[in-house]
Symmetry: C2
Subunit: 108 residues, 2 copies
């Protein structure tokens, strides 16, 4: 598992897929095993493992082997990177609107 | 331009591309014309127009024709949908951790 700061492009790419979002939905209720994760999703275990790899590489999921069972849980790092990216643009945008408002006020 | 609630899959897919994120970065400083947008990005005007279409369809950008010039600006709707999706998972996750904490406390 990568311990570097998640790459924003990877995070958004990972979040763009509906099956991966369904996996994150399930994991947001608490950690579960890979096979428990695969059962209700109507896709093969191999496909789930592949999606999990993408999610792990983008810092959205972490997995750990406890005995013979691999358990998955949400990894906050990827979520934080995505939320921060959005928030920064929103701040810029608010400031640009404020500047425009002041300009219009001065014109009056 | 679609006035429906932006589709979360489209929003994350749109945000997964580095050129589209660069376009949003530029627009977060304020509205500009399509040609002003294309100039520093070292890609063709046609490519910019294509990216803008994806961004518009996912509710991240709006464009308006003022006279002969098409001006682009950020559209908050797509950003809100993405931020909300992330926030909801984070809340779930916090609650799951709280529940686990209580369970461990009770075991003591």
């Amino acid at each position: 598992m990568s311990r570097n700061k998640p790459d924003i492009g990877r995070v958004f790419h990972a979040l763009g897929d509906p099956t991966r979002r369904a996996i994150l939905d399930k994991l947001s209720r608490g950690p579960i095993s890979v096979s428990q994760l695969a059962a209700p999703l109507a896709i093969t275990l191999a496909a789930v493992v592949q999606h999990l790899q993408v999610l792990e590489e983008s810092g959205l999921v972490q997995t750990a082997k406890l005995g013979r069972v691999r358990t998955c849980s949400l990894e906050p790092a990827g979520f934080q990177v995505a939320a921060q990216w959005i928030e920064e643009r929103r701040l810029h945008w608010d400031r640009a609107l404020d500047a425009l408002g002041k300009l219009l006020d001065e014109e009056k």
